[in-house]
Amino acid sequence: MAELALRYSRLVGANPVMVSVPRGGVTRLHLPGEDVKMHLVKAVLKARADEGEELELLGAATAGLDAKGRERLRRRVGVVSREVGLISSLNAWENISLPAAFHGTTPLAEVAELAQSVLERFGADAEKFLARLPDDLDPLERRLATFVRLLVEAPELALFDNIVAGLTRPERERVKEFEAEYRARLPLGTLLYVDTQEAAA
């Protein structure tokens, strides 16, 4: 049996759901409703299942975890979602480097190098981009900044929550390149897209 990156079930509410995501590849989930999607995203973000839910992340059951164990698990997961946006009082560089600087996981020189190469790959002037506040970035740029922050964290499981919502067609095409960038930098990582059946249609 293939090892799972995520196993989630929610058997309460109008739309019961059971999800299994194998490790390593790219999985696309079209969930029955916004409510179900939000419960899944929040459970992954908190590394905690609510009542009526079950959650296993990267092979670990979250039910018996204490706060520290949950935090350790959470740091192995990255999410690009409107739920996890940017901090408005920090510029793009501070937003991107904040988790690494706070936890001391990656040297800032490495973060700067990574940010510069990814931003240039997506056609942005890194120096100007990184100095701007989130309010000065357009929706695609904000998503790009969140994606770079995710890459800095190098998560084993990356969850893209309705990543193209609110973008124009050309912007959606650019966002699709995030997948290739993630696969190139973290070939062993698991990439999970979640959206609703309505959004997918």
Binding site: R74, V79, V84, G85, I87, L98, F102
Partner: protein, 258 residues
Amino acid sequence: MLQPLREIEGGIKLSLNVAGRLGQLRRPPVLESFLRQVYFTGVTASTGVVLRASVLGALIIAVTLDVLDADVDLAVKMLLWVVFREIGPLAAAVVVILRTGTAISAEIAMMRVSGQTRVLRYLAINLYDYLVVPRVAAVMLATMALTFYIQALAVLGGLLFSPFIINVSFMELAGRFFELFTPVDLYYSTIKSLLFGFAIAACCCWHGLNPPNLTQNAVPMAVTRAVTQSAMLVLGINAIFAYIVFGILFFGLVKATQ
């Protein structure tokens, strides 16, 4: 009745939490936030109070001499006991409440309402470590520095301008001032200003993190509560501390021993 109790309990918990987490200032983003806050509260506020503080001392002496028909000795005592011990720290606290307290409570309440505190939690960043500890530590330090600055300017202003009002030289006034000055005056105002800074920052952070609801309207409500309660806390600390150290309340109107 429950709300004030909840606020007192929350304030005590927050204070204990901050005291136990000061070591977090070593983390680079926390240290950066601390330095920014020191700059905003201490440095940028200081330029605006130069003239006001130096006029304060002269004004107190002028009023004392005019109203009370006081002599030089009483004028210098007023400068030390009223301006240095009481008005200086209180003036600094007022500046900090109006400039920094409002900014802190509004910023944190806005982050809370717009879901940015949730983002920090998801990034495994402790809100106390990143938002509260650097602000409380910085405001304490900056309030102390601002107090010294205002005291120095007010006393100097009083000593410099008084010779124009009364027939006494600057050197005579300064000499009398340093005769009366004791280290207790310095310790008293230092500890008091640190307590003022702590109370203001802790109160404003608590109200920022606990707005009455999560709508945009909650931000001004949180700021109003933070400012009002900070002012009350400062006045309370001032009264209690004066009583503990000097055995007097309200500038000597109430005394511990007769």
